[in-house]
C-alpha cells in the first residue's frame, strides 16, 4: 500500500513537472507570437530559415572535411569570403549574370581549397592533428590579410550590386522576396546533388569508405589522397555558392566577413553532430532561426545574438555531448 502511494505520488509529480515544462515552452511561444503579432513571428521564422540555408551550405563543407580527416578547417570561412569576392568581380567588372557568376565562384573556391589542402594539410597528414589545425589557422589569417591588401580586395566594406532586381511578394502581410526563393532553391538543389554524389556515385562511396577507415580504404584500392582533395573541393564549392548567396542577401562585403558566418556554421555543424550531413543541415536551420528570433524578439538581441548562439551550443553539449545526430564515439582502449 505504502509503495503504491509513493509510486503514484512520485509518478504524478514527474508528469506534473513534464507538463509544467511543456506548458512553459508553449506559453513562451504563444507569448512570442502575441508580442508582435503572428505575421511578425512568421516573418522572423522565414528570415531565420533563409539564414539557416546559407549556414547549411557552409556547414556541409566543415562537416565533410571533419568527417574525412578529423580537421577543423578554420580556413573554410575565408574560402566562403573568396566566393563572395569572385562573384562581385564577375558581376560588377565583367557584367556577368547570376548563374555564370555563381558557377565561377564555385569553381574558384574549389581550386583554391584543393590548393590549400595540397600545400598546407597534405604534408602534415601523418603529423599530430594539432599541426594541421595550426596551419588551418595560418591559412585563414593569410587569406584574410592578403586579400585585405590594397592591390587585392582592399580592407574596406564594398557594396555588392545584385545581379537581378529584387522582387518582394506580400503574402498576407508576410514579405517574401525572390532572394529567399533563390537561396532556398539553390541550397536545396546543391544539397540534393551532394546527397546524390555521396550516396549514389562511385566517388561518393569511396568518400564514405575513406571517412570510415583510411587504411582499409587504401587497401581496397581507393586513392585516398585524391578522395580527400575531392572532399575539400566539394566543400569549397558549396562554400563558394554560399558566399554568393550571402552577398546577395546582405549586400556588403569585406575580407573579414567570413569569420563569424564560418564560426556559426561550424557550430551549427557541431550542433547537428559533426560528420553527419543531415545533422549539419538541421543544425544550420536551427542556428539561423534562433539567430533571427533572438535579434527580433530579445531586448538588445542584436548585440547579444552571438552570446545566445553559443550558449545554446553549450547547453546542447551538456544534454547530448555529440550533437543532435551525432553518434557516440567509441572509446578505444
Amino acid at each position: 500500500m505504502r509503495i503504491t502511494l509513493e509510486k503514484i505520488g512520485l509518478r504524478s509529480l514527474v508528469w506534473a513537472i513534464y507538463a509544467a515544462l511543456a506548458a512553459g515552452i508553449l506559453w513562451g511561444i504563444v507569448a512570442l507570437i502575441r508580442l508582435n503579432g503572428p505575421i511578425f513571428f512568421i516573418q522572423a521564422i522565414i528570415d531565420g530559415l533563409r539564414l539557416g540555408f546559407m549556414y547549411a551550405l557552409i556547414a556541409l563543407g566543415y562537416t565533410m572535411v571533419y568527417g574525412i580527416v578529423r580537421l577543423i578547417n578554420f580556413a573554410h570561412g575565408d574560402v566562403f569570403m573568396v566566393g563572395s569576392f569572385t562573384s562581385f568581380y564577375a558581376i560588377t567588372r565583367y557584367g556577368w549574370s547570376f548563374v555564370p557568376a555563381i558557377l565561377l565562384a564555385m569553381l574558384v573556391c574549389m581550386a583554391l581549397n584543393v590548393v590549400i589542402e595540397r600545400v598546407a594539410y597534405k604534408p602534415l597528414r601523418n603529423a599530430p592533428r594539432i599541426a594541421s589545425l595550426i596551419t588551418a589557422i595560418g591559412v585563414s589569417f593569410f587569406l584574410e590579410y592578403f586579400t585585405a591588401l590594397r592591390f587585392v580586395f582592399t580592407a574596406d566594406f564594398i557594396t555588392y550590386r545584385r545581379p537581378f532586381e529584387v522582387i518582394v511578394w506580400d503574402i498576407g502581410g508576410v514579405l517574401i522576396s525572390n532572394i529567399t526563393i533563390i537561396i532556398v532553391g539553390i541550397t536545396l538543389a546543391l544539397l540534393l546533388s551532394l546527397q546524390f554524389i555521396i550516396r549514389r556515385t562511385k566517388i561518393g562511396k569511396a568518400m564514405r569508405a575513406t571517412a570510415l577507415d583510411k587504411p582499409a580504404a587504401r587497401l581496397m584500392g581507393i586513392n585516398v589522397d585524391a578522395i580527400i582533395s575531392f572532399t575539400f573541393g566539394l566543400g569549397a564549392a558549396l562554400a563558394g555558392a554560399a558566399g554568393v548567396l550571402y552577398a546577395i542577401a546582405f549586400p556588403q562585403i569585406l575580407t573579414f566577413m567570413g569569420i563569424m558566418p564560418g564560426l556559426k556554421a561550424f557550430v551549427a555543424a557541431v550542433l547537428g553532430g559533426i560528420g553527419s550531413i543531415p545533422g549539419a543541415f538541421v543544425g544550420s536551420l536551427l542556428m539561423g532561426t534562433t539567430d533571427v528570433l533572438v535579434v527580433s524578439f530579445m531586448p538588445m538581441g542584436s548585440r547579444l545574438r552571438d552570446l545566445i548562439a553559443f550558449l545554446i551550443l553549450i547547453i546542447v553539449f551538456l544534454v547530448k555531448p555529440t550533437g543532435i545526430f551525432g553518434e557516440p564515439q567509441a572509446e578505444k582502449v
Partner: protein, 442 residues
C-alpha cells in the same frame, strides 16, 4: 663514472638575470625605446598566459580554444579593482575589490558545501530506491529535484555570505587604504588586483571545466571556443551591467602600473610554480592523463579531478597574465580578446612544442617580437603585410617542424631531474629462465 656538471638551475638563473638586468638597464639608460620596452613586457605576459594553456593542452591534453576568455576575465577584473582605487567609481576606494573577494569566497564556500553534502551519492541512493517502480527518465527527474533544492539553498547561503562579507571587507579595506602610505597602498592594491584577476579566472575555469571537461577532446575545444566568444560578446555589452567597463568603447583610465620588474617577478614566480607542480606527483598524474586517460584511470588517477585542476591552474595563469596586460597600456578594449587573438596562445604553444615550458617561453617571445618588429622593419606603405608574412612563417615552421621548436624537450632547470646515481644491483635474469618462458609461449 660521475658526470661533472653545474646544477641545472645555475645557467637558467644566469639567463634570467641577464635578460632582466639587460632590459632593465637598457631602459633606464634609454638605449631601447619605450615601445620596445613594452614589447618585451607583452612577450612575457603572453608567455605567462601561454604557459597556462600549455598546462591545459600540452601537459594535460585537453584541447582548449577558450584561453583568451580567462585572459579577458583577469584583465577586466583587475582593472575594475585598480581603477576603483584610483578613481573610486564604485563609491569607495575598495568597493570593487571587496565585491570580488566576497563573491569568490561565497562561490568557494558554496562549492565546498556542495562537495561535502555528497549530492552525487544522494542522487544515486534516490535512484536506487525508486528504480523499482519508476522508469529511468522519471527516476532521473525525481532524483534531481531535491538536488536542485539543496543547490538553491546553498546558493542563497552563498549570496548572504557574499553580501555580509562585502560590508565587512569594504569597511576594513577602505580604512586600511586611507591609513597606509600611498606607495605601499598602491603596491598592495596592485598585488591584490593581480591575485584577484587570477583567482577569478581560475574559479570561472573551474566552474566551466567541471561540466565541459566530460566532453570528448574536439567537443571540449569547440565548447571552450563558444565560451570565449560568449565572454567577448559579454564584454562588448558590459556597459549594460557595469557602466565603468564602457563596453565596446573600451575601458579607460586604468592606472599604468605594470613595468618590467613586475612582469619579470610574476613570470619567475609562476614559472617556478608550474615547473614544481609538473614535477610533483600531481604533475605526473596530469601528464599521465594526456598520455592515456584510460590507463591513468586504471592506475587509480582521478582523471576528472586532475583535468579540472589543470584547467583551473591554466585559467589562473591566463588571469594573471591578463591582469598584467590591463595595467600595461591603461586601456582595455574587447577586440583585444576576440577569437582571432584567441588563437595566439594556441599557436604559440604548438610552435614552441606541446608539453615544453622552454618552448612556450621561446615561442611567445619569438612570435610577439616578430609581429612587433615587422612593424618596424617593413618599409613605409607595407605595414599591412605584417599579417601576410606572419602566417607564411607560421606555415613554414609547421610544415618543416610539426612537433614545434622544442618538441617535448626542456632546457636547464626545466628539465626533469635525472635520477640519482646509485649502485642498484640489476636483477640477474638467467638466459635459461628466459628461454624457458619462450618455450612456454611457443
Amino acid at each position: 663514472m660521475k658526470r661533472l656538471s653545474l646544477p641545472s638551475w645555475i645557467p637558467t638563473l644566469a639567463v634570467g638575470l641577464v635578460l632582466f638586468l639587460g632590459v632593465f638597464f637598457a631602459r633606464s639608460t634609454g638605449s631601447i625605446s619605450a615601445y620596445r620596452y613594452q614589447v618585451f613586457q607583452i612577450a612575457l605576459i603572453t608567455a605567462i598566459s601561454a604557459l597556462g594553456l600549455n598546462l591545459i593542452y600540452g601537459f594535460n591534453g585537453q584541447f582548449s580554444l577558450g584561453h583568451i576568455g580567462f585572459y579577458a576575465i583577469g584583465a577586466y577584473g583587475s582593472a575594475l579593482i585598480t581603477k576603483d582605487y584610483v578613481s573610486g567609481w564604485s563609491g569607495s576606494k575598495a568597493g570593487a575589490l571587496s565585491w570580488m573577494m566576497a563573491a569568490q569566497i561565497g562561490v568557494v564556500l558554496a562549492l565546498v558545501c556542495i562537495r561535502l553534502l555528497r549530492l552525487d551519492r544522494l542522487q544515486k541512493r534516490i535512484t536506487l530506491h525508486t528504480s523499482a517502480y519508476l522508469k529511468p527518465h522519471e527516476a532521473r527527474v525525481v532524483s534531481t529535484l531535491p538536488l536542485l533544492a539543496i543547490i538553491a539553498a546553498v546558493l542563497a547561503l552563498a549570496v548572504a555570505v557574499t553580501l555580509g562579507l562585502h560590508q565587512v571587507l569594504n569597511q576594513t579595506l577602505s580604512a586600511a587604504m586611507t591609513s597606509l602610505p600611498k606607495e605601499i597602498g598602491k603596491n598592495l592594491v596592485f598585488v591584490l588586483a593581480i591575485l584577484n584577476g587570477g583567482t577569478m579566472a581560475a574559479l570561472v575555469a573551474y566552474l566551466v571545466g567541471l561540466p565541459l571537461l566530460r566532453l570528448g577532446s574536439d567537443y571540449f575545444g569547440i565548447a571552450t571556443l563558444g565560451f570565449a566568444i560568449m565572454i567577448y560578446t559579454a564584454l562588448q555589452n558590459s556597459d549594460l551591467v557595469i557602466e565603468t567597463m564602457k563596453g565596446a568603447r573600451g575601458m579607460v583610465a586604468i592606472p599604468i602600473w605594470t613595468n618590467w620588474s613586475w612582469v619579470m617577478g610574476v613570470f619567475v614566480l609562476l614559472v617556478i610554480l608550474l615547473r614544481n607542480l609538473l614535477r610533483s606527483s600531481h604533475g605526473r598524474a596530469i601528464i599521465s592523463v594526456r598520455e592515456d586517460e584510460i590507463a591513468a584511470q586504471t592506475m587509480g588517477v582521478d582523471v576528472n579531478q586532475l583535468k579540472t585542476l589543470a584547467f583551473a591552474v591554466g585559467g589562473l595563469f591566463a588571469g594573471i597574465g591578463g591582469a598584467l596586460y590591463a595595467h600595461l597600456y591603461g586601456f582595455l578594449h574587447p577586440s583585444t580578446f576576440n577569437i582571432i587573438k584567441g588563437f595566439d596562445p594556441l599557436i604559440i604553444i604548438v610552435l614552441g612544442g606541446l608539453g615544453s615550458m622552454t618552448g612556450t617561453v621561446l615561442a611567445s617571445v619569438g612570435v610577439v617580437v616578430l609581429i612587433e618588429e615587422l612593424r618596424v622593419i617593413l618599409p613605409q606603405g607595407f605595414e599591412d603585410w605584417r599579417f601576410v608574412i606572419y602566417p607564411i612563417i607560421l606555415l613554414m615552421v609547421m610544415l618543416l617542424r610539426s612537433q614545434g621548436i622544442m618538441g617535448t624537450n626542456e632546457w636547464g632547470w626545466f628539465r626533469a631531474p635525472l635520477p640519482p646515481e646509485r649502485d642498484i644491483p640489476i636483477p640477474n635474469r638467467t638466459p635459461r629462465a628466459s628461454a624457458a618462458t619462450q618455450s612456454e609461449d611457443a
